[in-house]
């Protein structure tokens, strides 16, 4: 696995460091992305996630087969398409990552703080969460996003997410909308999706995260995307699966309804 991963990382580095005519940098990245998508390194994370899901693990020596991701115990098909959603047992709106964490704690006996510590993989250490999210996400492939707003707490999370998306703070006065509120914008050469555009939200939500990131040689999740945006905004480390992060995901994912899912994605 490690050797394989090293090779993938090396190949990706070559791919992204190939000299390109400067004015075509964005096109070059698009070509690289397409090449990767045809042979998506994220599949390695899907396979590992599948193994982790069915393996008996943790202090309680249990698999995740009894985990209810919203479609009933053990049913991973179509789960991603309807998350975040309200769960009666926790009385909370949960995204995929917070729900998996609930299952890993209650069913397998893992400690919450250990899961949080290993939430994002490094080159030396794989993250089980990144693999599990890849596996579960891929099990909605070909389906359409259909995030519910039936429960009052789901509507509350959606509205709060909308409020937070436009909320400016920090030493640079940024909100999410500062970078993701207009058409055809870039920070330096990095294209920024316009999350106020219905079609782009559908595309980003249904094919965006989890994604294999060439620059990081690993799969990153939506929680990581939000954490990294917070970092760029000069805000403190965003709490993993904080209600704020889930509200933002509810706002985006519900507006992504109708988008056809293809995960994991491939990103720079």
């Amino acid at each position: 696995m490690e050797t394989m991963r090293g090779c993938v990382a090396a190949a990706v580095l070559v791919l992204f460091s190939a000299p390109l005519p400067a004015q075509n940098a964005a096109d070059g990245l698009a070509i690289g992305r397409q090449m990767l998508a045809e042979d998506n390194p994220g599949e390695l994370w899907v396979e590992r996630g599948k193994r982790l899901f069915f393996e008996k693990r943790g202090p309680k020596n249990a698999s995740l087969e009894a985990c209810d991701l919203g479609q009933g115990p053990g049913k991973v098909e179509g789960a991603f398409a309807q998350l975040p959603r309200y769960f009666a047992d926790t009385d909370k709106v949960q995204d995929l990552e917070s729900r998996l964490m609930t299952c890993m704690v209650t069913l397998q006996g893992f400690k919450r703080e250990d899961i949080v510590k290993n939430r994002f993989g490094t080159l030396d250490r794989d993250s089980d969460m990144e693999a599990l999210v890849s596996f579960v996400g891929s099990k909605s492939n070909g389906m359409k996003m259909a995030v519910p707003l039936a429960h009052p707490k789901e509507r509350e999370a959606f509205k709060a997410g909308e409020y937070l998306f436009n909320r400016r703070s920090g030493p640079l006065d940024f909100s999410c909308a500062t970078c993701h509120g207009d058409e055809g914008k870039r920070v330096r050469l990095q294209d920024l999706p316009n999350m106020t555009d219905a079609k782009q939200v559908q595309h980003v939500v249904a094919t965006g995260w989890p994604a294999y990131r060439g620059t990081q040689a690993t799969v990153r999740t939506m929680q990581h995307r939000l954490y990294d945006c917070n970092w760029q905004m000069r805000l403190p480390d965003l709490g993993y699966t904080s209600e704020m992060s889930i509200a933002l995901t509810s706002y985006l994912n519900h507006r992504g309804n109708g988008g056809e899912i293809h995960l994991p994605g491939v990103r720079r």
Binding site: A160, N166, S169, L172, R188, W231, P236
Partner: protein
């Protein structure tokens, strides 16, 4: 009496049903959202979580797309911006364009990782993240307007220098709620650093003004 009760109940029930169908009111949403922010950064030191608190102007400037500022709100933001202005101790609003050149390409400063502020020699001025400045620089963003030839087009009179300095110090003075950060007023750049960036924009020798 009975009729009144029915009427009141009728309105209340309608309001509840409507509320349930559409979600919380804007005031409730704000309260819920602010509560989420207060719990979004567990284990972070107070001086860092304070960054997520909004000042009065950030509150005014946080609005959904298409929601225009009232003239009263705009006047308040501008008045606060006017009061925030500070100038370099030596009184020179245009400094050294070569130092400015280094600053405009630097996108770092004040970032937090693992509960600590990343150590940097100086905060970068972030300019090319959003603006094209040097026509030979490819790696520039487009969130803000292109500023190639800024000084060549406008000159470098005292009035232009002062405007440019104040615009960078607090962009909301001239464009209330602009996307551009209030770099000086927020304490992100020093007055001296801003003066160097001003020189980079207006000096005829600067790459910005040489084609």
């Amino acid at each position: 009496m009975m009729r009144n009760v029915t009427l009141v109940c009728g309105f209340a029930c309608a309001a509840i049903v409507l509320g349930c169908a559409t979600g919380p009111s804007p005031e409730e949403t704000r309260a819920i959202g602010e509560h989420m922010v207060s719990e979004a950064y567990p284990g972070m030191p107070a001086e860092l979580t304070a960054r997520a608190h909004q000042d009065a102007d950030q509150k005014i400037c946080s609005r959904p797309p298409g929601d225009k500022l009232t003239s009263d709100e705009a006047q308040r933001v501008v008045a606060h911006a006017r009061a925030s202005l500070k100038y370099p101790a030596n009184g020179k609003l245009a400094g050294d364009w070569k130092i400015g050149q280094r600053l405009v390409a630097n996108g770092g400063g004040l970032r937090v990782r693992g509960g600590r502020v990343e150590k940097v020699k100086e905060n970068g001025a972030l300019c090319i993240n959003c603006h094209a400045l040097d026509p030979r620089e490819v790696n520039s963003g487009n969130l803000g307007p292109e500023l190639i030839g800024y000084g060549a087009k406008r000159g470098h009179t005292d009035a232009i220098v002062k405007y440019t300095y104040e615009k960078i110090y607090n962009s909301w003075l001239y464009f209330p709620c602009s996307n551009m950060p209030r770099l000086g007023a927020n304490g992100y750049l020093t007055p001296e650093q801003i003066a160097h960036v001003v020189a980079y924009l207006v000096d005829p020798q600067s790459p910005v003004n040489r084609n």
